[in-house]
Symmetry: C2
Subunit: 224 residues, 2 copies
DNA sequence: GTATGTGAATAGATTCACAGCT
DNA sequence: AGCTGTGAATCTATTCACATAC
């Protein structure tokens, strides 16, 4: 089954998804001069349960001191390490429409270690334009862009109709990690990691809860 | 805390999150003239397991026909109904920077029943500008904007430092559902529904997997 | 006394496997 | 035969509660 026992511990997905949130909180704490933090404080900062924080951190090499808490600096180091080893991963954005343009100038990417290193688009009217100091290149040159700038992450910001095509291009160019903003399900080989960010879907989920609340509110009658 | 037994069935969160994806697939099928669809086909379209689809649909009033499948039209109706009753929910966007501007012109929102009905910003330099035919109004007038256009959803697209303030404004204006794009944890009262879309976090999660894959790849050759 | 680390308990989601209908 | 509907089994995640350490 497994090729022997992993020495490196496996971190559960749910934990991985919370680590960036902890990291943000910890960086803020460090900036405000805090040296240690308790699981309760960190939980509050991240909006989760304290036991959850402790269990999450137990998956890292991070160790706290009983009666005291965790060392902020150390924790920042451990989490950064787990999340990509501190090496920046340049990203290439496919599809430079409204969203692609906004993403290419999004500060959070650079801050998080994901500098935007390439922009490509299929539309000749967009190719050649400069966005935030970078030129938009034709999608045919994607493989070159990837090679030249060492991109390891691709962002799909095309219309849904072109999303699968964009994914295929990225896969062909050897990109192992893809973030898809197009509201479409795309298929990639097993060894490619794909995540979906679906803006309209998020709103629809909110819509469900809103609808439900109104429905049950009507049932329950007036609430004080 | 539950006021007795709900007549209306409760739909699990994980199911709710998949319904919009099914809906998209079904609309495409309807456009291409398909009248019925099997759970296997729909699963393929949505990128999930077929048993999962069947269980999900069993939470709705949707019923399939054994040996045949589900009626596409009917299913579209049932899912739309569950997700907000078919009523459009106008949204107001707080923070009209790069991201806010892109979101205000995002087609997917209108298509999904979430027309952008209001734009507000705290920066006087931005207030008064026209984005996609709508004027940006000062954040102080948020409550008026909400009342005038009947917004029920707020989108936070401010810098993280202003995110909590934006949330407070939205809550004060009576908005029950908030989608936060700022990379910051914001706190809202229990009766307000808050969802987080964190772009940098998504990349960091991809980064973790990438890092891990490389690490285990290296280990596979020479483990000590 | 305070706060971590973790086994056990609980809750939630996915997948399997098959009975039952068309 | 083909496909739905669903109990049971499995897997994953969260929360509790307390022994352990400072």
């Amino acid at each position: 089954m497994n090729g022997g026992s992993d020495r490196r511990e496996v971190i559960p997905e749910a934990t991985v998804a919370r680590l960036p949130v902890y990291l943000r909180g910890l960086v803020e704490l460090a900036e405000s001069g805090m040296a240690t933090v308790s699981s309760v404080e960190l939980a509050d900062l991240a909006g989760v349960n304290a036991a959850n924080v402790r269990k999450d951190l137990s998956y890292l090499h991070a160790h706290g001191t009983r009666g005291v808490g965790y060392q902020v600096d150390h924790l920042i180091g451990e989490i950064s390490l787990a999340l990509g080893g501190g090496e920046p991963s340049p990203v290439v954005i496919v599809g430079i429409g409204n969203l692609g343009r906004a993403l290419s100038q999004y500060d959070g990417f650079v801050a998080g270690g994901f500098p935007v290193a390439g922009l490509v688009d299929a539309d000749p009217a967009v190719v050649g334009r400069y966005i935030g100091g970078r030129v938009v290149r034709p999608v045919e040159e994607l493989a070159d862009v990837v090679t030249e700038s060492g991109c390891t992450v691709g962002i799909i910001a095309t219309p849904s109709a072109s999303a699968q095509e964009a994914a295929d291009h990225l896969v062909a160019a050897g990109i192992p990690s893809i973030l898809n903003f197009a509201p479409a399900v795309v298929h990639v080989p097993e060894d490619v990691d794909l995540r979906q960010v679906d803006l309209a879907t998020e709103l629809q989920i909110l819509g469900y809860h809103q609808h439900r609340r109104m429905a049950s509110g009507a049932n329950a009658g007036a609430v004080g």
